[in-house]
Every structure is written in C-alpha cells, then in structure tokens.
Amino acid sequence: MQAPSRKPALPSEDKRWRIVNGTMRRHGYARDALIETLHTVQQSFGYLDKQSLKFVAASLHVPLSRAYGVATFYHFFTLKPPGKHACLVCLGTACYIKGAAALVAQAEKTLGIECGETTPDLKASLLTARCLGSCSLAPLVVYDGELIGNEDAVHLQGRLEGWMGS
C-alpha cells in the first residue's frame, strides 16, 4: 500500500505541470489549496480535464468526487477546452438594462452557438459574466480580454465575423 505522504508523479513532461505542482507546494499540499490549484491548472491549460483533476486530487489527498464537485460547482472553472477566441458578454444589471440580452442574441446568431458553447471548429467561445464591475461602460463585451464599453450589435457582429473568417 502506498504511504499517504507519497505524491503522484507529474502526468507528463509538460512544464505546465510543474507550475501546478508549485502552487500545491506553496500551500504545503494542504487540502484547502484545492481551489487555488484548480485556478493554476485552468490558467496553465485553459480548462480542467480528467487527467488534471485526478492528478490534483491525488496530490492533495482529496477524494476525486470532491475535486470534481468543486470543479463543477464554481462557474469560473470549465471542463471543456476553450475556443481560440473568447467573446464574453456581461449580463450584470446595468448591462442588462442597457440591452445586453440583444447582444447575446446577436452573438448566438453570428456564431451559431448558444451561451457557454464553443464553435465546432474551436475558433470561438461565447461566454457570459454575472457582472464585471465596470457598469459605467454598460453594455460591456470582452473580446479576448479586451474590454469594449457601450457596445452595439453591429460592432459585435463585425468583430465575431472577423474571428470566424480568420
């Protein structure tokens, strides 16, 4: 039987696993570092796959069910690989009052997918946020990390079509 202190080997040679391991080491492999570690995995790999959940769960000695439970409970974590580009529409109250729902509808129509999905060619993901806290710029859309305030459907469509054409 394995000694409980034994740490599982890194899943592969990929350097990113060492970054993940670094986060766990910094927290002394404490169980409460689970969320922090999953943040690092998602930052490094873009999403949480089965392999990473198993590795993190085994390293921190938490049941796999707990790791999976946490990964699916929090909206920030995703178990699916993200698209090359990401369009994130803020659905906070101020954005909603100023027409964010119409922007979502336009994005869904342009990309041919629903919120939370990624196009089959993995070119673009469509996401929504609860509130980004920049409500004075409502309605707000984030294209690959770039915040655009006072967004309108025409500009949004142009931007997304640009991605799909590239």
Binding site: I35, F73, Y74, C131, C135
Partner: protein, 548 residues
C-alpha cells in the same frame, strides 16, 4: 520595522516633493478608465511632458468616481478635472499647466456630482497612487494602526468602533462593534479575520474600486480588527473577475510586510498578523459568510445553518470575524478621528456614509459616497444628473438580487437601512441601478430570478426548487402564457421561499418579485390579461400580432 517618527518622515518626503512646485497630472488607472485605455493615455502624457520639457509628475491614481466621463485626468495644484481625455489631448492637458484650461474641459469638481458627496471611505481614492505605500502614509495612512496598537487596548478599539455606530456595509447592517465584541470574547487562542471582497451583486463595484484605488486602507482596517479581536491570520476573499484588484492587493501586502505593518512585531509591538489572498471562482452564494468560509477551506461554497455563527465557530471551526471591504475601509478614519466624529454623520440608526455604484439610465454614472440620510431623489437627480435626454424615470433598483425596485413616489425616501426596508428594498452592498420606462418590470423580476435560480447552491430545497418554479412562472408571464392562477402561485412561492430557505440567498430571492408586485402590479396584470407589455420589451402573442 518602522517607528512613528519614520512614518512622519515618509509623509514629509512625499509632501516636500509635492511642494516643490511641480505640477501633478493624475490619470485614473482603475478598471473603468483602464478599459478606456487610460494606461496608453498616461504613457502619452508622460512622453509629451518629457519631449516638451515640462516639469511635472504624471501619476496613476485610483478611481475619481465619475466613470461615465472617463478616462479622467486631474491636474494638481489647481484641482482641474478633465473628462474623456484621449492620447491626442495630451498637449491640451499640458497647456493647462501654464494657462487656464480650454473651455471644453470645464471644471467638473464644481458640479453637483462632486459637490453633493462626502468622502470618508473614498477620501484617498483618485488622489493617491494605489501602488505606492508612501502616498498612503502621506495622507495619514497607518497612523490609526499605530494609535490602536500603542495607545489603546483591544477592548478600547472594540469600544471605539461600537461608539461610531458603524454597521456592516455588505448589506446586512449588523452593528460592527457588536460583531467585533463577540469575536473578541469568544474562547480560543486561534482566531481569524476575513475580508469579504466577493462582491457578487450585479451592478455593484464599490469594493472593486476601493481595492483598486486604496488597498492599504483595507489592510489597515483588517489589522486593527485583528488586534481588537485577537486574531493572527487574515484572509481576503476576492472575486476572480477582479484581476486588477488582486494585483494591487498583492503588491500592497508585500509593501505592508516590508514596512512591518504585517508580519511579526507589527509597529514594534508583540502583535502578529498576516494576510493571505484567496481568489473566488465565480459563485454568488460565496458572499454568504458560511459559504465563503467553506470556499476558503477549499470546498464547494454551500452555506451552513446558523447558529453557530462564525464569531463562535467559523473558519476551521475557530472564532472568525467576517466584514466586507467597505466596513474595513471605514475603520482607519474611525480609529484616527474617533467614533464620536463618525457617529455625528448620518441618521439616528444609520451612521456615517455609504458608497454607491450609480449606474443604469442616468446621466452621471460611477461611484459616489454620500452621508446616510440623503434622499434617493438627491442621488438620482442631483448627483446623478437625472435621466438622459428623452428618457423617463421608472424605478431605482437597490440591493441587487436581494433588493427591490423603488418607484417615483418613494424617491424622497432617505437612504438608511430601515427606510429602504420600509419601501420594500434593502440597503444591500450599494448597487443602485436607475431604470427607465423602456424596461419592463416583470422582466426585471424575471432577470433577477434567473440569477438566483442559477446561483442557488442547491443545498436546500426551497431555494433550489422554489427559485426554479418562480422563474418558470415569470417566464410564462413575460411570454403572455400565464393566467390569474399563476400570479397567486407566484405570491405563495414568494412567502414559502423567503420563510424556509437556509441562507440569505434564498430568503431574499423573492424580494425583486415582491417589490415589483407592490409597485408595478398593473404591469403583471396587463401581461396576464391583455397580453401586453407597456415597455414593449416582452415579445408576446398580442404585441407580435399588433406589429405584423
């Protein structure tokens, strides 16, 4: 380690530098203006100043409040504020150092938006560089910590905070001094202090702004609290959606440790305290204190029945003090000036000031701080400048998904915990969204119910199933598929969910429905009987037929 004398020296150095007659050009680098590329603007200003040989200091500062006019640039001395500045305006800003500013940049500080405010929490916001601890010290920062640690006993600190009348700014309104006293009295050698920066209400960004503009104020408040209750470890739980706030906090913690305001032997005493940041992962329910504790412990953020309250048994079952960002931010001025000074502001039951995020269909949007007791009308129509051209006021929404919509006839309500409750809303954390007549109130209720339904953690049935049922009914009303019986069921469900849910999320989830039913029942009835939406927002059989 640093002494009071050295603190004075740092402050003196900063002040001398400022007094050398050099102008300061302050560019807002909080998230709102950054999204409008104020960092590029800052670079352009610095470059133009250098190339044209103008002696001035170009600094990044925190939020100046009027986010709708961003990017904002202020010039000191002179207190001139420029709005919507583009990199190509750099020369014009620099020209103002020599001559009076051009007319298109009128001095905004003289407008009601700024003149009607009173800043305590935001006193340094927009004035200091949030990434430089020396500037916070120059404004009197960390004096309160010295004062508390060296001249006061923990019990006296608790007493001072209690006498200020400060109440929890996260929305609950629980007296802060009472909470601190309970944790201080709780048995145990290990205690924790948690700062709740999981600002989940949509349309609220007070805490983000404070953390981005004046992070040391929160650290100082937490450290004073730790001394008062006897804690040696603190956590700040921040939303993942606020990366800039996290970055500035990390830097602030490093600087505070360097100068001995965190760590061991704080301010040369035997007191030890350190702070760790925990990043949330996008769950609204984690704003509830027991769910937040579960999340810090690395688990799913589900709440626990109270009692036991965190003050007795919180993080890792130790006595834990949880306050939100704005509450901690109020502590340094209270300790520095006195509880009596603070309690002189506000109303008999709600003391001090409150920060609001004013957004929606109103001319001036941004962050404001007003003394408790001002009316909603003053906020919306004086500070907010009223409705944009051609818009008609319908309601103001406060308290996020736990709050309600306040109609025109209640606009003279004073802003305090009790008055807002009386009109069917709550103070909440400070989101204030102005709604005009193009928004359907049934749809607003549906929007918040969708929020609560998807944010329900699923632990207790009334909230998990009740919010889904209420959402379903509201959805049918907005689609013109509901009958009178549905409305009765909806009202029943409001009672049931609020009375039987485990935590605040479920208990307050019906509030948006209850308040819109109270003031805008006519709209519900028109949707049900006439299949008509006066705002023209809901697409129903009748409206579609009328269009075709």
């Amino acid at each position: 380690m640093i002494s009071v004398e050295e603190l004075d020296q740092i402050a003196e150095t900063v002040r001398t530098e400022r007094a050398q007659g050099r102008h300061q050009i302050n560019v807002c680098v909080a998230a709102g203006c950054l999204a409008l590329h104020s960092d590029t603007l800052k670079g352009a200003l610095a470059e133009r100043a250098q190339s044209s040989g103008i002696s001035c200091q170009v600094r990044g500062v925190g939020c100046m409040g009027l986010c709708s006019a961003g990017p904002l640039v202020s010039v000191e001395p002179g207190a001139i504020l420029f709005q919507k500045v583009k990199p190509e305006d750099a020369d014009r800003v620099l020209d103002s150092l020599k001559a009076p500013p051009a007319k298109q940049h009128t001095d905004l500080r003289q407008t009601p938006f700024f003149k009607r405010q009173f800043n305590v929490v935001l006193e340094n916001s927009g004035k200091i560089d949030p990434e430089n601890i020396d500037e916070y010290i120059a404004e009197g920062g960390y004096r309160a910590l010295f004062h508390a640690l060296i001249e006061m006993t923990p019990a006296e600190v608790v007493q001072e905070v209690a006498s200020s009348g400060l109440r929890g700014r996260g929305g609950g309104g629980y007296p802060t001094g009472l909470k601190w006293g309970t944790v201080a009295k709780a048995h145990g050698t290990i205690k924790y202090v948690i700062c709740n920066a999981d600002e989940g209400d949509p349309g609220a960004f007070m805490d983000r702004s404070v953390l981005e503009s004046d992070p040391h104020r929160v650290l100082e408040g937490m450290t004073i609290a730790a001394y008062a209750v006897g804690a040696s470890k603190g956590y700040i739980y921040v939303r993942a959606e606020y990366p800039l706030a996290v970055k500035r906090l990390e830097r602030a913690i490093r600087e505070a440790r360097r100068l001995g305001f965190l760590g061991s032997k704080i301010c040369g005493t035997t007191f030890e305290f350190d702070i760790e940041i925990r990043i949330g992962a996008g769950a609204f329910v984690c704003g509830e204190e027991t769910a937040l504790i579960a999340s810090i412990e690395g688990m799913r953020g589900t709440p626990q029945p109270r009692p036991p309250y965190p003050a007795q048994s919180g993080l890792w079952e130790k006595p834990t003090l949880i306050n939100n960002v704005e509450t901690f931010a109020n502590v340094p001025p209270i300790v520095r000036r006195s509880g009596a000074w603070y309690s002189a502001m506000g109303t008999p039951k709600s003391k001090g000031t409150k920060v609001f995020a004013l957004t929606g269909q109103v001319k001036n949007t941004g962050l404001i701080e007003v003394p408790m007791g001002v009316t909603l009308r003053e906020i919306v129509f004086d500070i907010g400048g009223g409705m944009p051209e051609g818009r008609k006021f319908k309601a103001v929404q406060t308290g996020g998904p736990s709050g309600g919509c306040i109609p025109e006839q209640c606009l003279d309500t004073r802003v305090d915990y009790e008055s807002l409750k009386e009109v069917g809303s709550i103070m909440g954390s400070g989101g204030m969204i102005v709604i005009d007549d193009t928004s359907c109130m049934v749809n607003v209720a549906r929007y918040f119910m969708e929020f609560c339904m998807s944010e329900s953690c699923g632990k207790c049935i009334p909230c998990r199933a009740g919010t889904a049922q209420m959402y379903d009914i509201l959805q049918r009303i907005t689609r013109g598929q509901a009958g009178e019986r549905d409305l009765e069921l909806l009202i029943d469900l409001c009672d049931m969910v609020s009375a039987t849910s485990l935590c605040g999320l479920g208990q307050t989830a019906p509030n948006p429905v209850i308040s819109t039913l109270r003031y805008f029942k006519q709209e519900y009835l028109e949707h049900i009987h006439a299949k008509r939406c006066v705002a023209g927002e809901c697409r129903m059989a009748a409206t579609q037929a009328a269009r075709s």
